[in-house]
């Protein structure tokens, strides 16, 4: 396992009370996997990433990053991190900011002189690498942050809201960079609110709610076909449908949307329709998207 989280609980003291930001979190991320952590604001996503990087210590439980305690400096070698709301030293030009963090990663000057222009090119900042970070827009700073995270060719990449403040073109650009990293075998851990981005990029996701992992699985599993079907009948619209126990039918965008409690109920509806000699033109299982899964899960847990 590249990332292994076992029973991690993190509590903060705020005035007289204790706030539990993470509650017995168990999680594993395999090598080469792109893992998405979803959660509402305050769910504990950033706290978990900070624990995974050794920036914060768990109150109980343990974390390993490639088999090592992330609080050891050596465990963070070839680990990239793009923090949420990062503040680069605004007095440095973009290229020099990359040089600073490259040096802190132990890269030599010759390697940095080659790597920095490549990264600036990769994130579309080659024209602005000599400008001070303080003059960058939000989106440019975010792209610089991604370049800094990639400076030592990471094996593991942590991205906290990587597309925050980035326009749609920039988002696609960042997604392409991440997919290229994935192709190269980098393990990627993404925290994001943008569920469509996660759905397009991640292999597996977990939903964190009030500090607990409430759902986890591959994107395929979570968005698996539901017991909702799109039904098309070869007849004029508006004809009444037979009442079948366990089946609810609603009109939606010019189609009929059938929700069945189980496949037996669906088949009883089909039998009734066929018994009435009505022609079924379409019956398509509907998949829930990640947003549906997320909202449904969070509402159920609240």
């Amino acid at each position: 396992m590249t990332i292994d989280v076992r029973g991690v609980t993190k509590e903060f003291r705020s005035r007289a009370r204790r706030i539990r930001a993470l509650d017995s979190v168990d999680l594993t991320v395999r090598q080469g996997e792109v893992f998405g952590l979803l959660g509402a604001n305050g769910a504990g996503k950033t706290t978990l990433v900070k624990v995974l990087l050794g920036l914060s210590s768990p109150t109980s439980g343990g974390v390993t990053l490639r088999g090592r305690d992330p609080r050891q400096a050596g465990a963070r070698s070839r680990v990239g991190y793009l923090p949420e709301g990062h503040r680069f030293p605004d007095y440095l030009p973009g290229g020099e900011a990359l040089r600073l963090f490259g040096r802190l990663s132990g890269l030599d000057e010759a390697g940095l002189s080659k790597r920095i222009p490549e990264l600036l090119e990769l994130v579309g900042l080659s024209e602005r690498g000599g400008d001070r970070v303080g003059r960058y827009s939000k989106g440019m700073t975010q792209r610089l942050g991604l370049a800094a995270a990639l400076i030592d060719d990471p094996e593991v990449l942590f991205l906290d809201e990587p597309t925050d403040g980035v326009d749609p073109v920039g988002r696609r650009h960042i997604r392409d960079v991440l997919l290229a990293c994935k192709e190269g075998g980098t393990t990627i851990f993404i925290n994001s609110h943008l569920l469509s981005e996660v759905e397009r990029t991640c292999d597996r996701v977990a939903i964190l709610h009030k500090g607990r992992i409430v759902r986890e699985g591959s994107v395929e599993e979570l968005t698996r076909p539901t017991l909702r079907f799109r039904l098309g009948l070869d007849e004029a619209p508006g004809s009444p449908l037979p009442q079948v126990e366990g089946v609810a039918v609603a009109a939606s965008n010019g189609h009929l949307e059938v929700s069945a409690t189980d496949l037996g109920a669906l088949n009883r509806l089909i039998d009734r329709l066929r018994g009435e000699d009505r022609t079924i033109a379409e019956l398509t299982p509907m998949r829930s998207d990640l947003e549906d899964v997320f909202v449904e899960t969070v509402q159920r847990e609240t």
Partner: protein, 276 residues
């Protein structure tokens, strides 16, 4: 390479925030005044005449030996530079730790394969080199200008510059502790000044203790005296050193250095254990 990166980062930050240039500008102004405002006419090893800002100096009691004039003048400069140097150096370095530990910045540094101790001490070394260069320029400049103007080379003045540096380092350790604990630039600058002022009257701790009714509070005063830097006594003894009348005792120097070192160790421990 990592330590070098942190030292360079400290210098670039000081340069960009104009603290380095401010320090240099104040030093240059001081040196220019010294160069052009003071003119001395030396005849046969005595001060025959002199002007200050174009006004003739009145030499009461005949023509004093130039050695004596230089020694007295340098002791006055040492006293001025003691206060000015520490004041400017604290101001120039006060924002370092608060800027480092702010949310969104500290993550970028600490997520790298470098220990927290290395990050903090690397910045400390950066601040040390920064202030050493500034003090060398300011004190070295005064020494060279006076020596060239008079032909008297009083090397004890350079030892005085070393004492200013030692006291500053003690305050730098304290600033690092405040910076790590509070993350506040105003506090990191104000509290060292408060400490400077508080430590001054403690030089008379024995008289204060004798005047107190409570043994407990007398003990507190004594403890504070031994814990805090001995700024007043080191300042006084530094002037005596330049005058050739002895210098500060090892106890004064060691307890002042121990305060700074203790604060720095405490800052490192807190930084090491802090959740960001």
């Amino acid at each position: 390479m990592k330590t070098w990166a942190l030292i360079v980062d400290t210098w670039r930050e000081a340069l960009a925030r104009f603290t380095l240039l401010g320090f240099l500008a104040a030093s240059v102004l001081f040196l220019l005044i010294l160069t052009f405002a003071v003119n001395l006419d030396i005849v046969d090893g005595t001060l025959a005449a002199g002007t200050l800002f174009g006004q003739a100096l009145e030499l009461h009691g005949g023509k004093p030996a130039i050695d004596q004039v230089v020694t007295t003048g340098l002791s006055v400069f040492a006293g001025m530079l003691y206060a000015l140097g520490v004041f400017l150096a604290v101001f120039a370095t006060g924002s370092q730790v608060p800027h480092l530990v702010r949310r969104g910045t500290v993550d970028l540094y600490l997520a790298r394969p470098v220990t927290r101790t290395h990050v903090l001490l690397g910045r400390f070394v950066g601040a040390m080199t920064l202030v050493a260069a500034n003090l060398a320029f300011l004190c070295g400049g005064v020494f060279v200008i006076i020596s060239i103007k008079t032909g008297v080379w009083n090397l004890r003045f350079l030892a005085a510059a070393g004492l200013i540096y030692l006291v500053f380092l003690s305050f730098l350790g304290f600033m690092y502790l405040i910076g790590v604990l509070s993350g506040s630039t105003p506090l990191s600058i104000m509290l060292p000044y408060a400490l400077y002022l508080l430590s001054m009257p403690l030089a008379a701790h024995d008289k204060i203790e004798a005047a107190m009714d409570s043994r407990f509070w007398a003990g507190v005063v004594r403890a504070l005296y031994w814990i805090l830097p001995k700024t007043a006594e080191i300042g006084r003894d530094m002037v005596r050193l330049v005058m050739g009348q002895g210098g500060p005792s090892a106890t004064l120097l060691l307890t002042t250095a121990a305060f700074g070192l203790g604060c720095l160790v405490l800052a490192t421990v807190v930084f090491q254990r802090k959740n960001f």
